[in-house]
């Protein structure tokens, strides 16, 4: 099986990646078809509301893939990935704010409404350039990437790992939440950024734009999945697993563990940023609550439920939990957290490898012929 392809294309030869991409693209096509071509009153019609809801799930799925990359393969339990998600979201939100122009309540051609409300007369320096889409889209990658770079550099260089690292990632996202709550920061305080109108010239309130965003999110998830899969199936991925399982040993082999950790962490943060950037135009708002430590913990729960170190498990977990959340909070809003907790406990007890572990077990049982069947129980 000598494969000379680049690391990014190598996963395309894998069965699991083919299945994943096949299912994802079929879902995109089916939803698009049902939305566009089924009559409004048909039971099969998918409303624009549902399309956006699905788009939101896909954003969460990409975020979960990013977390699984660092947690599953590198053993870094980040409880602060919500921060990278939110930073990507804010970068996109700033672009969308600038796109409003003079159509805001106060009609100021440059300043967003909340700045006029705060009696600011000039645009802060860090808002410059966000009227240009290309600049904003670069910032979507750069802002979370830079934060991850600086944070990771300091943490990994000092060899902070395990539970201590988890705690500081929590502190990181909590600190950012408090900072973004302040009006003086210039990010809209606790109201955040909202009242968006259009993106790249398309009106955000039309069904066509919503469908476009949904499809773009699906494609972003596919690309993000390929990048992660490319990394984990490369030699670097095996080095990551080595760092996860025996850090000191890896170091004695001559690998710079902290650089491996930093690289993967930054890639993961950027993917989380992209997820956040696609999330904001679909839900129509970004505010500091995305920085809340609870949200970051919830992401980890999705990954744990779906199955760690599989990537597709993270996608399944994110979509299932968020679907359950939508259903539950509709039926019994108060019971949701209990339901989530119960789900988490049940999965940890009965499916330690998550839903993906269940799928693998089944496939293995099917693949094994009687001669080697005894190994399936190992």
């Amino acid at each position: 099986m000598a494969s000379s392809q680049t690391w990014l294309l190598r996963p395309l030869q894998e069965r699991s990646t083919q299945i994943f991409l096949g299912v994802l693209f079929s879902a995109l096509i089916v939803v698009t078809f049902l939305h566009l071509f089924m009559p409004q009153d048909s039971a099969l019609h998918v409303s624009a509301y549902t399309v956006t809801l699905l788009g939101k799930y896909l954003c969460y799925a990409l975020l979960a893939v990013a977390v699984d990359l660092v947690w599953g393969y590198l053993g870094i339990l980040s409880l602060g990935h919500g921060a990278f998600f939110a930073l990507g979201g804010y970068a996109m939100g700033m672009y969308l704010m600038r796109q409003i122009g003079d159509r805001g309540t106060y009609g100021d051609p440059v300043l967003p409404d909340f700045m006029v409300f705060l009696n600011w007369d000039t645009l802060p320096w860090y808002w410059q350039g966000f009227d240009m889409a290309w600049f904003a889209f670069i910032m979507v990658l750069l802002a979370p990437g830079l934060l991850a770079l600086v944070f990771g550099f300091l943490a990994f260089r000092s060899r902070v790992t395990g539970v201590y690292l988890s705690i500081i990632t929590q502190a990181l996202t909590f600190a950012l939440m408090l900072a973004f709550f302040r009006n003086e920061m210039g990010f809209g305080g606790n109201n955040g950024l909202t009242d968006f109108r259009d993106i790249l010239g398309f009106n955000l309130r039309t069904d066509a734009t919503r469908l476009g965003l949904f499809i773009a999110t699906g494609i972003a998830l596919a690309i993000g999945y390929l990048i992660c899969r490319g990394i984990v199936t490369s030699k670097l991925g095996r080095v990551s697993v080595a760092c996860r399982d025996a850090e000191a040993r890896t170091r004695f082999l001559g690998y710079r563990v902290e650089r491996v950790q930093l690289f993967v962490f930054v890639v993961s943060a950027m993917l989380a940023g992209v997820a956040g950037a696609l999330y904001v135009p679909q839900v129509g708002i970004i505010n500091p609550s995305e920085f809340s430590p609870l949200f970051s913990i919830e992401i980890v729960v999705w990954v744990a439920l779906g199955g760690r170190a599989t990537l597709y498990g993270a996608v399944i977990g994110a979509i299932l939990v968020n679907y359950a959340k939508t259903v539950f909070t509709g039926v019994m809003p108060d019971a949701w957290l209990f339901a989530l907790g119960a789900l988490f406990v049940l999965v940890t007890v009965f499916l330690p490898k998550g839903i993906a572990g269940l799928l693998q077990k089944r496939r293995k049982a099917k693949d094994d012929d009687p001669a080697t069947g005894q190994e399936a129980t190992a």
Partner: protein, 274 residues
Amino acid sequence: MSMFEQLTNRDQVFEFLAPAASPVDVRHGPILYLEDVNVSFDGFKAINNLNLTIDDGELRCIIGPNGAGKTTMMDIITGKTRPDTGSVWFGSRHNLLTMNEPDIASLGIGRKFQKPTVFEALTVFENLELAMATDKRIFPTLTAIMKPEYRDRIDEVLEMIKLKTLRDKPAGILSHGQKQWLEIGMLLMQKPRLLLVDEPVAGMTEQEMERTAELLTSLAGKQSVVVVEHDMGFVRSIARKVTVLHQGSVLAEGTMDQVSNDREVIKVYLGEEA
């Protein structure tokens, strides 16, 4: 020759300007040289004026009771622990005290830990692949592909350590002895100049021990090997030169017979066994 010509002579570089990755200089004999090394942990002197010289291509056994400082000595050589005073040289060019663990590893010092640590989630083959002496930086690692000559090298080592049949099994299912061999195999993949082997036969059966002795003696000559071991029978079977450590310094040095007849050694070490 004028001063100016000397300074602008570009055929030569000053020693201190030579890149750190320059080859190990063993023209003067020793590959490893420890002088007056002292380490204390919270007042406890783990290493006390240790002097030790290992020649190129030598197989040396280091014995000593528990707490004699054997593992600490390995930690110092590999850069894990910094001594309080003293000097540690690899060949006559590389000062190990100025280097970190990965640098020392890529210079050609391989270490096998007391407890076998292999990457249990990876296959035997992948364990050896990661250990291979290649460019270990991020992007070369990301884009690395398995070349046929790499595969041949791995298969060659698999043959040596007798794990060919377990090539694609996860290392986690190996027996204790097999893990020890895999770890020695990983060291061999690094093509080290100096191998540090910490208690290679602990917990091995008689047969496994024999096989390990064979493996280690076959390495000597090509590489320098330093073996720390408790098992006297094993040491007797492989050793040409033995160093006895006691309370952080060298108590005796010589052939196994010389050492086991040394009165001091009998008192602190062999005496306890008899």
